[in-house]
Symmetry: C2
Subunit: 234 residues, 2 copies
DNA sequence: CGTACATTTGATTTGAATCAACGTTGGTGG
DNA sequence: CCACCAACGTTGATTCAAATCAAATGTACG
Protein backbone atom coordinates (compact mmCIF):
# COMPACT_ATOMS: atom_id res chain seq x y z
CA UNK A 1 0.00 0.00 0.00
CA UNK A 2 2.99 2.28 -0.36
CA UNK A 3 1.44 3.88 -3.37
CA UNK A 4 -1.45 5.17 -1.28
CA UNK A 5 0.46 6.68 1.59
CA UNK A 6 3.40 8.05 -0.26
CA UNK A 7 1.85 10.01 -3.09
CA UNK A 8 0.57 13.50 -3.63
CA UNK A 9 -3.16 13.43 -2.92
CA UNK A 10 -6.06 15.84 -3.08
CA UNK A 11 -8.12 16.60 -0.04
CA UNK A 12 -11.33 17.07 -1.98
CA UNK A 13 -14.16 18.57 -0.05
CA UNK A 14 -17.10 16.17 0.02
CA UNK A 15 -19.30 18.97 -1.24
CA UNK A 16 -17.75 18.60 -4.65
CA UNK A 17 -17.69 14.81 -4.54
CA UNK A 18 -19.51 13.35 -7.56
CA UNK A 19 -20.58 10.28 -5.59
CA UNK A 20 -21.57 12.02 -2.39
CA UNK A 21 -25.11 10.59 -2.53
CA UNK A 22 -23.95 7.10 -3.45
CA UNK A 23 -21.03 6.50 -1.14
CA UNK A 24 -21.22 4.98 2.34
CA UNK A 25 -20.37 8.39 3.80
CA UNK A 26 -23.77 9.73 2.70
CA UNK A 27 -25.35 8.74 6.01
CA UNK A 28 -23.47 11.44 7.89
CA UNK A 29 -24.98 14.81 8.56
CA UNK A 30 -23.05 17.95 7.60
CA UNK A 31 -21.20 18.33 10.86
CA UNK A 32 -20.08 14.73 11.04
CA UNK A 33 -19.22 14.72 7.35
CA UNK A 34 -16.94 17.70 7.84
CA UNK A 35 -15.04 15.81 10.49
CA UNK A 36 -15.08 12.55 8.55
CA UNK A 37 -13.88 14.06 5.30
CA UNK A 38 -10.74 15.29 7.02
CA UNK A 39 -9.75 11.63 7.38
CA UNK A 40 -9.92 10.93 3.66
CA UNK A 41 -7.26 10.94 0.99
CA UNK A 42 -8.08 10.55 -2.67
CA UNK A 43 -5.76 8.86 -5.10
CA UNK A 44 -5.87 8.37 -8.86
CA UNK A 45 -4.88 5.26 -10.78
CA UNK A 46 -4.30 4.42 -14.40
CA UNK A 47 -5.45 1.27 -16.15
CA UNK A 48 -4.19 -1.95 -14.62
CA UNK A 49 -2.61 -0.62 -11.43
CA UNK A 50 -2.68 -2.83 -8.37
CA UNK A 51 -4.57 -1.12 -5.56
CA UNK A 52 -4.19 -3.79 -2.91
CA UNK A 53 -3.30 -7.47 -2.63
CA UNK A 54 -4.56 -10.57 -0.89
CA UNK A 55 -2.69 -11.26 2.31
CA UNK A 56 -1.68 -7.66 2.98
CA UNK A 57 -2.81 -5.91 6.15
CA UNK A 58 -6.28 -4.40 5.77
CA UNK A 59 -5.33 -0.79 6.31
CA UNK A 60 -7.69 1.16 4.07
CA UNK A 61 -11.37 1.27 3.25
CA UNK A 62 -12.05 2.90 -0.10
CA UNK A 63 -14.90 4.45 -2.01
CA UNK A 64 -14.77 4.53 -5.79
CA UNK A 65 -15.18 8.06 -7.10
CA UNK A 66 -14.42 7.57 -10.76
CA UNK A 67 -13.73 4.62 -13.05
CA UNK A 68 -14.02 0.94 -12.22
CA UNK A 69 -12.13 -1.31 -9.84
CA UNK A 70 -11.98 -5.04 -10.38
CA UNK A 71 -11.81 -7.28 -7.34
CA UNK A 72 -10.44 -10.71 -8.11
CA UNK A 73 -9.15 -13.91 -6.61
CA UNK A 74 -6.49 -16.25 -7.92
CA UNK A 75 -5.85 -19.98 -7.75
CA UNK A 76 -2.30 -21.29 -7.37
CA UNK A 77 -1.96 -22.04 -11.06
CA UNK A 78 -3.04 -18.54 -12.12
CA UNK A 79 -6.69 -19.14 -12.85
CA UNK A 80 -8.48 -15.91 -12.05
CA UNK A 81 -12.03 -15.02 -11.05
CA UNK A 82 -13.29 -11.47 -10.82
CA UNK A 83 -15.62 -11.49 -7.83
CA UNK A 84 -16.84 -7.91 -8.03
CA UNK A 85 -16.70 -4.76 -10.11
CA UNK A 86 -16.55 -1.56 -8.10
CA UNK A 87 -18.37 1.28 -9.85
CA UNK A 88 -18.47 4.89 -8.65
CA UNK A 89 -20.12 5.00 -5.24
CA UNK A 90 -19.16 1.42 -4.42
CA UNK A 91 -17.23 0.61 -1.29
CA UNK A 92 -13.85 -1.09 -1.55
CA UNK A 93 -12.72 -3.46 1.17
CA UNK A 94 -14.13 -3.78 4.66
CA UNK A 95 -13.39 -2.70 8.20
CA UNK A 96 -13.64 -6.15 9.80
CA UNK A 97 -10.97 -8.42 8.39
CA UNK A 98 -7.34 -8.15 9.44
CA UNK A 99 -6.09 -8.81 5.90
CA UNK A 100 -7.34 -8.21 2.39
CA UNK A 101 -8.54 -11.49 0.96
CA UNK A 102 -8.53 -10.55 -2.71
CA UNK A 103 -6.76 -8.32 -5.18
CA UNK A 104 -8.03 -4.94 -6.35
CA UNK A 105 -6.95 -3.38 -9.61
CA UNK A 106 -8.01 -0.28 -11.51
CA UNK A 107 -9.78 -0.64 -14.86
CA UNK A 108 -9.11 2.47 -16.90
CA UNK A 109 -8.53 5.82 -15.19
CA UNK A 110 -9.81 5.55 -11.66
CA UNK A 111 -10.11 7.77 -8.62
CA UNK A 112 -10.65 6.42 -5.12
CA UNK A 113 -11.28 8.03 -1.76
CA UNK A 114 -9.45 6.19 1.05
CA UNK A 115 -9.99 6.10 4.80
CA UNK A 116 -7.78 4.31 7.28
CA UNK A 117 -9.73 1.50 8.91
CA UNK A 118 -8.37 2.43 12.34
CA UNK A 119 -9.58 6.01 11.89
CA UNK A 120 -13.03 4.87 10.86
CA UNK A 121 -13.33 2.76 13.99
CA UNK A 122 -12.15 5.68 16.05
CA UNK A 123 -14.61 8.01 14.35
CA UNK A 124 -17.40 5.51 14.91
CA UNK A 125 -17.09 5.79 18.67
CA UNK A 126 -18.80 9.16 18.49
CA UNK A 127 -20.61 8.54 15.20
CA UNK A 128 -21.96 4.99 15.22
CA UNK A 129 -24.21 5.78 12.25
CA UNK A 130 -21.23 5.10 10.02
CA UNK A 131 -21.51 1.39 10.86
CA UNK A 132 -25.07 1.25 9.66
CA UNK A 133 -24.01 2.89 6.44
CA UNK A 134 -21.11 0.52 5.86
CA UNK A 135 -23.47 -2.33 6.68
CA UNK A 136 -25.78 -1.10 3.93
CA UNK A 137 -23.01 -1.19 1.35
CA UNK A 138 -21.80 -4.58 2.54
CA UNK A 139 -25.30 -6.07 2.36
CA UNK A 140 -25.66 -4.69 -1.16
CA UNK A 141 -22.39 -6.33 -2.18
CA UNK A 142 -23.48 -9.61 -0.63
CA UNK A 143 -26.66 -9.43 -2.73
CA UNK A 144 -24.64 -8.86 -5.89
CA UNK A 145 -22.23 -11.67 -5.02
CA UNK A 146 -25.12 -14.10 -4.55
CA UNK A 147 -26.69 -13.03 -7.82
CA UNK A 148 -23.38 -13.82 -9.46
CA UNK A 149 -23.20 -17.22 -7.75
CA UNK A 150 -26.41 -18.08 -9.57
CA UNK A 151 -24.92 -16.85 -12.83
CA UNK A 152 -21.64 -18.75 -12.47
CA UNK A 153 -23.21 -21.93 -11.17
CA UNK A 154 -26.24 -22.26 -13.36
CA UNK A 155 -26.28 -20.01 -16.42
CA UNK A 156 -25.05 -20.90 -19.92
CA UNK A 157 -22.37 -18.87 -21.68
CA UNK A 158 -24.97 -16.99 -23.71
CA UNK A 159 -27.00 -16.18 -20.61
CA UNK A 160 -23.85 -15.01 -18.86
CA UNK A 161 -22.93 -12.63 -21.68
CA UNK A 162 -26.45 -11.26 -21.88
CA UNK A 163 -26.57 -10.74 -18.10
CA UNK A 164 -23.21 -8.99 -18.20
CA UNK A 165 -24.32 -6.57 -20.91
CA UNK A 166 -27.49 -5.77 -19.00
CA UNK A 167 -25.39 -5.15 -15.87
CA UNK A 168 -23.31 -2.63 -17.79
CA UNK A 169 -26.43 -1.05 -19.24
CA UNK A 170 -27.77 -0.64 -15.70
CA UNK A 171 -24.90 1.72 -15.04
CA UNK A 172 -26.04 3.96 -17.86
CA UNK A 173 -29.66 4.11 -16.78
CA UNK A 174 -29.74 7.90 -16.96
CA UNK A 175 -29.09 7.70 -20.68
CA UNK A 176 -31.71 6.74 -23.25
CA UNK A 177 -32.39 2.99 -23.35
CA UNK A 178 -30.41 2.34 -26.53
CA UNK A 179 -27.61 4.77 -25.74
CA UNK A 180 -24.17 3.56 -26.78
CA UNK A 181 -21.67 3.05 -23.97
CA UNK A 182 -18.09 1.95 -23.68
CA UNK A 183 -17.43 -1.64 -22.65
CA UNK A 184 -14.87 -0.98 -19.94
CA UNK A 185 -13.40 -4.48 -19.78
CA UNK A 186 -11.15 -6.37 -22.17
CA UNK A 187 -12.30 -9.76 -23.42
CA UNK A 188 -10.02 -11.53 -20.94
CA UNK A 189 -11.52 -9.56 -18.07
CA UNK A 190 -15.05 -10.33 -19.21
CA UNK A 191 -14.05 -14.00 -19.35
CA UNK A 192 -12.62 -13.82 -15.82
CA UNK A 193 -15.82 -12.18 -14.59
CA UNK A 194 -18.11 -14.75 -16.21
CA UNK A 195 -16.08 -17.90 -15.63
CA UNK A 196 -15.42 -18.41 -19.35
CA UNK A 197 -12.53 -18.19 -21.85
CA UNK A 198 -11.86 -15.25 -24.19
CA UNK A 199 -12.77 -17.39 -27.19
CA UNK A 200 -16.18 -18.26 -25.80
CA UNK A 201 -16.82 -14.63 -24.91
CA UNK A 202 -15.81 -13.53 -28.40
CA UNK A 203 -17.99 -16.15 -30.08
CA UNK A 204 -21.07 -15.17 -28.15
CA UNK A 205 -20.50 -11.47 -28.81
CA UNK A 206 -20.33 -12.33 -32.52
CA UNK A 207 -23.50 -14.34 -32.08
CA UNK A 208 -25.44 -11.50 -30.52
CA UNK A 209 -24.17 -9.17 -33.23
CA UNK A 210 -25.26 -11.48 -36.03
CA UNK A 211 -28.66 -11.78 -34.36
CA UNK A 212 -28.79 -7.96 -34.38
CA UNK A 213 -29.37 -7.77 -30.62
CA UNK A 214 -26.30 -5.62 -30.11
CA UNK A 215 -23.96 -3.52 -32.22
CA UNK A 216 -20.31 -2.72 -31.52
CA UNK A 217 -18.25 0.03 -33.12
CA UNK A 218 -14.88 1.69 -32.74
CA UNK A 219 -13.77 -1.55 -31.16
CA UNK A 220 -15.47 -1.09 -27.80
CA UNK A 221 -18.54 1.13 -28.05
CA UNK A 222 -21.71 -0.89 -27.63
CA UNK A 223 -25.37 -0.31 -28.42
CA UNK A 224 -28.07 -2.63 -27.21
CA UNK A 225 -30.43 -2.82 -30.18
CA UNK A 226 -33.08 -5.12 -28.73
CA UNK A 227 -33.11 -4.69 -24.98
CA UNK A 228 -36.14 -6.90 -24.36
CA UNK A 229 -34.82 -9.84 -26.32
CA UNK A 230 -31.44 -9.52 -24.61
CA UNK A 231 -33.25 -9.59 -21.30
CA UNK A 232 -35.10 -12.74 -22.26
CA UNK A 233 -31.76 -14.41 -22.97
CA UNK A 234 -30.39 -13.47 -19.54
CA UNK B 1 -43.80 -16.11 7.42
CA UNK B 2 -47.02 -17.23 9.06
CA UNK B 3 -45.27 -20.25 10.43
CA UNK B 4 -42.99 -18.06 12.51
CA UNK B 5 -45.57 -15.77 14.07
CA UNK B 6 -48.35 -18.26 14.61
CA UNK B 7 -46.59 -21.16 16.29
CA UNK B 8 -45.72 -22.16 19.78
CA UNK B 9 -42.21 -20.96 20.45
CA UNK B 10 -39.68 -21.11 23.25
CA UNK B 11 -38.29 -18.02 24.85
CA UNK B 12 -34.88 -19.52 25.52
CA UNK B 13 -32.65 -17.50 27.74
CA UNK B 14 -29.41 -16.60 25.95
CA UNK B 15 -27.49 -18.04 28.84
CA UNK B 16 -28.38 -21.51 27.69
CA UNK B 17 -27.91 -20.73 24.03
CA UNK B 18 -25.42 -23.15 22.45
CA UNK B 19 -24.26 -20.54 19.94
CA UNK B 20 -24.06 -17.61 22.28
CA UNK B 21 -20.40 -16.99 21.44
CA UNK B 22 -20.88 -17.42 17.71
CA UNK B 23 -24.03 -15.47 16.98
CA UNK B 24 -24.21 -11.78 16.09
CA UNK B 25 -25.75 -11.09 19.49
CA UNK B 26 -22.45 -11.93 21.20
CA UNK B 27 -21.31 -8.31 21.00
CA UNK B 28 -23.86 -7.23 23.58
CA UNK B 29 -22.97 -6.96 27.24
CA UNK B 30 -25.12 -8.72 29.82
CA UNK B 31 -27.51 -5.86 30.36
CA UNK B 32 -28.12 -5.21 26.70
CA UNK B 33 -28.36 -8.92 25.98
CA UNK B 34 -31.06 -9.28 28.60
CA UNK B 35 -33.10 -6.62 26.84
CA UNK B 36 -32.29 -7.94 23.37
CA UNK B 37 -33.13 -11.53 24.15
CA UNK B 38 -36.64 -10.52 25.08
CA UNK B 39 -37.16 -9.65 21.42
CA UNK B 40 -36.28 -13.12 20.19
CA UNK B 41 -38.43 -16.11 19.34
CA UNK B 42 -36.98 -19.47 18.55
CA UNK B 43 -38.61 -21.88 16.15
CA UNK B 44 -37.83 -25.42 15.10
CA UNK B 45 -38.03 -26.88 11.60
CA UNK B 46 -37.89 -30.34 10.14
CA UNK B 47 -36.01 -31.31 7.00
CA UNK B 48 -37.05 -29.44 3.88
CA UNK B 49 -39.30 -26.79 5.40
CA UNK B 50 -39.43 -23.41 3.72
CA UNK B 51 -38.30 -20.70 6.15
CA UNK B 52 -38.72 -17.71 3.89
CA UNK B 53 -39.13 -16.90 0.19
CA UNK B 54 -37.73 -14.49 -2.35
CA UNK B 55 -39.99 -11.50 -2.85
CA UNK B 56 -41.59 -11.66 0.60
CA UNK B 57 -41.27 -8.72 2.98
CA UNK B 58 -38.04 -8.87 4.98
CA UNK B 59 -39.57 -9.13 8.41
CA UNK B 60 -37.15 -11.32 10.36
CA UNK B 61 -33.45 -11.62 10.95
CA UNK B 62 -32.45 -15.06 12.15
CA UNK B 63 -29.60 -16.81 13.84
CA UNK B 64 -29.10 -20.53 13.31
CA UNK B 65 -28.98 -22.36 16.62
CA UNK B 66 -29.05 -25.95 15.45
CA UNK B 67 -28.94 -27.74 12.11
CA UNK B 68 -28.27 -26.26 8.70
CA UNK B 69 -30.19 -23.80 6.56
CA UNK B 70 -29.71 -23.69 2.82
CA UNK B 71 -30.07 -20.34 1.08
CA UNK B 72 -30.81 -20.68 -2.61
CA UNK B 73 -31.86 -18.82 -5.71
CA UNK B 74 -33.91 -20.06 -8.65
CA UNK B 75 -34.02 -19.33 -12.36
CA UNK B 76 -37.37 -19.23 -14.18
CA UNK B 77 -36.98 -22.74 -15.52
CA UNK B 78 -36.25 -24.23 -12.12
CA UNK B 79 -32.46 -24.33 -12.19
CA UNK B 80 -31.31 -23.87 -8.62
CA UNK B 81 -28.15 -22.56 -7.01
CA UNK B 82 -27.46 -22.80 -3.30
CA UNK B 83 -25.67 -19.54 -2.47
CA UNK B 84 -24.96 -20.21 1.19
CA UNK B 85 -25.21 -22.80 3.91
CA UNK B 86 -26.14 -21.44 7.31
CA UNK B 87 -24.46 -23.39 10.12
CA UNK B 88 -25.07 -22.85 13.86
CA UNK B 89 -24.02 -19.31 14.74
CA UNK B 90 -24.59 -18.02 11.23
CA UNK B 91 -26.88 -15.09 10.59
CA UNK B 92 -29.90 -15.53 8.36
CA UNK B 93 -31.13 -12.62 6.24
CA UNK B 94 -30.28 -8.96 6.71
CA UNK B 95 -31.74 -5.81 8.20
CA UNK B 96 -31.27 -3.61 5.13
CA UNK B 97 -33.33 -4.94 2.23
CA UNK B 98 -37.07 -4.48 2.06
CA UNK B 99 -37.61 -7.97 0.65
CA UNK B 100 -35.90 -11.33 0.92
CA UNK B 101 -34.05 -11.98 -2.30
CA UNK B 102 -33.57 -15.72 -1.95
CA UNK B 103 -35.20 -18.76 -0.44
CA UNK B 104 -34.24 -20.32 2.88
CA UNK B 105 -34.98 -23.93 3.71
CA UNK B 106 -34.07 -26.17 6.61
CA UNK B 107 -31.74 -29.12 6.06
CA UNK B 108 -32.50 -31.76 8.66
CA UNK B 109 -33.82 -30.77 12.08
CA UNK B 110 -33.11 -27.10 12.59
CA UNK B 111 -33.65 -24.49 15.26
CA UNK B 112 -33.50 -20.77 14.58
CA UNK B 113 -33.66 -17.70 16.77
CA UNK B 114 -35.65 -14.89 15.11
CA UNK B 115 -35.73 -11.15 15.69
CA UNK B 116 -38.05 -8.74 13.95
CA UNK B 117 -36.01 -6.37 11.78
CA UNK B 118 -38.04 -3.40 12.99
CA UNK B 119 -37.30 -4.30 16.59
CA UNK B 120 -33.59 -4.61 15.91
CA UNK B 121 -33.52 -1.15 14.39
CA UNK B 122 -35.43 0.17 17.35
CA UNK B 123 -33.08 -1.56 19.78
CA UNK B 124 -30.09 -0.17 17.87
CA UNK B 125 -31.07 3.40 18.68
CA UNK B 126 -29.84 2.86 22.20
CA UNK B 127 -27.43 0.02 21.39
CA UNK B 128 -25.62 0.87 18.17
CA UNK B 129 -23.03 -1.85 18.85
CA UNK B 130 -25.48 -4.32 17.36
CA UNK B 131 -24.83 -2.81 13.93
CA UNK B 132 -21.13 -3.44 14.21
CA UNK B 133 -21.84 -7.01 15.14
CA UNK B 134 -24.26 -7.58 12.25
CA UNK B 135 -21.68 -5.95 9.98
CA UNK B 136 -19.14 -8.51 11.14
CA UNK B 137 -21.42 -11.39 10.22
CA UNK B 138 -22.32 -9.82 6.88
CA UNK B 139 -18.67 -9.23 5.99
CA UNK B 140 -17.93 -12.84 6.85
CA UNK B 141 -20.71 -14.01 4.55
CA UNK B 142 -19.44 -11.77 1.77
CA UNK B 143 -16.03 -13.37 2.15
CA UNK B 144 -17.55 -16.85 1.89
CA UNK B 145 -19.65 -15.85 -1.12
CA UNK B 146 -16.57 -14.56 -2.93
CA UNK B 147 -14.64 -17.70 -2.13
CA UNK B 148 -17.51 -19.61 -3.70
CA UNK B 149 -17.49 -17.39 -6.79
CA UNK B 150 -13.93 -18.55 -7.38
CA UNK B 151 -15.01 -22.15 -6.92
CA UNK B 152 -18.01 -21.92 -9.26
CA UNK B 153 -16.25 -19.89 -11.91
CA UNK B 154 -12.86 -21.53 -12.06
CA UNK B 155 -12.64 -24.90 -10.31
CA UNK B 156 -13.14 -28.32 -11.91
CA UNK B 157 -15.75 -30.77 -10.65
CA UNK B 158 -13.15 -32.71 -8.71
CA UNK B 159 -11.79 -29.56 -7.09
CA UNK B 160 -15.31 -28.49 -6.22
CA UNK B 161 -16.08 -31.78 -4.48
CA UNK B 162 -12.80 -31.74 -2.58
CA UNK B 163 -13.39 -28.13 -1.48
CA UNK B 164 -16.88 -29.01 -0.35
CA UNK B 165 -15.71 -31.94 1.77
CA UNK B 166 -13.07 -29.76 3.38
CA UNK B 167 -15.70 -27.12 4.11
CA UNK B 168 -17.78 -29.74 5.93
CA UNK B 169 -14.70 -30.98 7.77
CA UNK B 170 -14.04 -27.40 8.94
CA UNK B 171 -17.30 -27.59 10.85
CA UNK B 172 -16.03 -30.58 12.80
CA UNK B 173 -12.69 -29.07 13.72
CA UNK B 174 -13.12 -29.86 17.39
CA UNK B 175 -13.11 -33.55 16.51
CA UNK B 176 -9.99 -35.49 15.60
CA UNK B 177 -8.79 -34.86 12.04
CA UNK B 178 -10.09 -38.11 10.60
CA UNK B 179 -13.30 -38.16 12.64
CA UNK B 180 -16.30 -39.43 10.70
CA UNK B 181 -19.16 -36.98 10.24
CA UNK B 182 -22.54 -37.00 8.60
CA UNK B 183 -22.85 -35.45 5.15
CA UNK B 184 -25.88 -33.30 5.79
CA UNK B 185 -26.86 -32.72 2.16
CA UNK B 186 -28.38 -35.04 -0.42
CA UNK B 187 -26.55 -35.49 -3.73
CA UNK B 188 -28.95 -33.08 -5.46
CA UNK B 189 -28.24 -30.43 -2.85
CA UNK B 190 -24.50 -30.90 -3.18
CA UNK B 191 -24.93 -30.51 -6.94
CA UNK B 192 -26.94 -27.32 -6.46
CA UNK B 193 -24.27 -25.97 -4.15
CA UNK B 194 -21.39 -26.76 -6.52
CA UNK B 195 -23.03 -25.93 -9.84
CA UNK B 196 -22.99 -29.56 -11.00
CA UNK B 197 -25.42 -32.42 -11.64
CA UNK B 198 -26.12 -35.32 -9.25
CA UNK B 199 -24.43 -37.75 -11.63
CA UNK B 200 -21.20 -35.76 -11.70
CA UNK B 201 -21.24 -35.44 -7.92
CA UNK B 202 -21.80 -39.17 -7.54
CA UNK B 203 -19.05 -40.05 -10.00
CA UNK B 204 -16.47 -37.91 -8.25
CA UNK B 205 -17.46 -39.28 -4.85
CA UNK B 206 -16.89 -42.76 -6.27
CA UNK B 207 -13.59 -41.55 -7.63
CA UNK B 208 -12.35 -40.26 -4.30
CA UNK B 209 -13.48 -43.48 -2.65
CA UNK B 210 -11.62 -45.66 -5.14
CA UNK B 211 -8.53 -43.51 -4.61
CA UNK B 212 -8.94 -44.17 -0.87
CA UNK B 213 -9.02 -40.46 -0.01
CA UNK B 214 -12.41 -40.77 1.65
CA UNK B 215 -14.63 -43.53 2.97
CA UNK B 216 -18.42 -43.50 3.26
CA UNK B 217 -20.56 -45.84 5.33
CA UNK B 218 -24.14 -46.25 6.46
CA UNK B 219 -25.06 -44.27 3.38
CA UNK B 220 -23.99 -40.87 4.61
CA UNK B 221 -21.27 -41.06 7.23
CA UNK B 222 -17.95 -39.84 5.85
CA UNK B 223 -14.35 -40.19 6.90
CA UNK B 224 -11.58 -38.24 5.29
CA UNK B 225 -8.77 -40.77 5.04
CA UNK B 226 -6.10 -38.58 3.46
CA UNK B 227 -6.73 -35.00 4.47
CA UNK B 228 -3.56 -33.57 2.91
CA UNK B 229 -4.10 -35.14 -0.46
CA UNK B 230 -7.72 -34.01 -0.47
CA UNK B 231 -6.50 -30.52 0.27
CA UNK B 232 -4.09 -30.64 -2.64
CA UNK B 233 -7.01 -31.49 -4.94
CA UNK B 234 -9.05 -28.52 -3.73
C1' DC C 1 -42.30 -56.45 1.98
C1' DG C 2 -43.23 -53.34 -1.35
C1' DT C 3 -43.18 -48.71 -2.98
C1' DA C 4 -40.95 -44.40 -3.59
C1' DC C 5 -36.95 -42.11 -3.62
C1' DA C 6 -31.90 -41.61 -3.76
C1' DT C 7 -27.74 -43.09 -5.67
C1' DT C 8 -24.68 -45.28 -8.77
C1' DT C 9 -23.07 -46.65 -13.15
C1' DG C 10 -22.88 -46.83 -18.19
C1' DA C 11 -23.50 -44.90 -22.97
C1' DT C 12 -23.87 -40.92 -25.55
C1' DT C 13 -24.16 -36.06 -26.53
C1' DT C 14 -22.86 -31.46 -26.16
C1' DG C 15 -21.24 -26.87 -24.73
C1' DA C 16 -17.28 -24.85 -23.71
C1' DA C 17 -12.18 -25.39 -23.55
C1' DT C 18 -8.21 -25.95 -25.99
C1' DC C 19 -5.21 -25.64 -29.86
C1' DA C 20 -4.07 -23.09 -33.86
C1' DA C 21 -4.21 -19.50 -37.28
C1' DC C 22 -5.39 -15.22 -38.80
C1' DG C 23 -7.18 -10.32 -38.50
C1' DT C 24 -7.32 -5.80 -36.16
C1' DT C 25 -5.83 -1.95 -33.47
C1' DG C 26 -2.84 1.22 -31.57
C1' DG C 27 1.55 2.87 -30.33
C1' DT C 28 6.65 3.72 -31.72
C1' DG C 29 10.35 5.05 -34.23
C1' DG C 30 12.59 5.33 -38.67
C1' DC D 1 3.49 8.80 -43.09
C1' DC D 2 4.10 4.35 -43.04
C1' DA D 3 6.44 -0.05 -41.44
C1' DC D 4 6.82 -2.57 -37.57
C1' DC D 5 5.42 -4.78 -33.51
C1' DA D 6 2.86 -6.16 -29.57
C1' DA D 7 -1.46 -6.62 -27.58
C1' DC D 8 -6.04 -7.72 -28.38
C1' DG D 9 -9.75 -10.02 -30.78
C1' DT D 10 -11.91 -13.28 -34.05
C1' DT D 11 -12.70 -17.61 -36.22
C1' DG D 12 -12.10 -22.53 -37.22
C1' DA D 13 -10.92 -27.42 -36.00
C1' DT D 14 -10.62 -30.53 -32.48
C1' DT D 15 -10.80 -32.32 -27.78
C1' DC D 16 -12.70 -33.03 -23.45
C1' DA D 17 -15.22 -32.52 -19.06
C1' DA D 18 -19.54 -32.47 -17.64
C1' DA D 19 -24.47 -32.88 -19.02
C1' DT D 20 -27.90 -35.71 -20.58
C1' DC D 21 -30.20 -39.95 -21.33
C1' DA D 22 -31.06 -44.47 -19.60
C1' DA D 23 -31.03 -48.39 -16.56
C1' DA D 24 -29.89 -50.79 -12.56
C1' DT D 25 -29.06 -50.92 -7.66
C1' DG D 26 -29.45 -49.34 -2.93
C1' DT D 27 -31.97 -47.42 1.02
C1' DA D 28 -35.64 -45.65 3.97
C1' DC D 29 -39.99 -46.25 5.57
C1' DG D 30 -45.07 -47.12 6.10
Amino acid sequence: MNNITSNHYNLDKCNNCPVRDLSFCNALDNGALEEFSALSKTKSFQDGQLIFSEGKTNEYLGSVILGIVKIYKLLDDGRQQIVSLGFPGDMLGNIIDSEYNYFAESVGDTKICFYQVARINNFAESNPAIYRSILGKTTEQLGHAREWLLLLGRKTAQEKIASFLLLLAEHHKGDSPNQAFKIPLKRQEIADFLGLTIETVSRHFSNLKSKQLIREYAGHMLTIVDYDQLKSLA
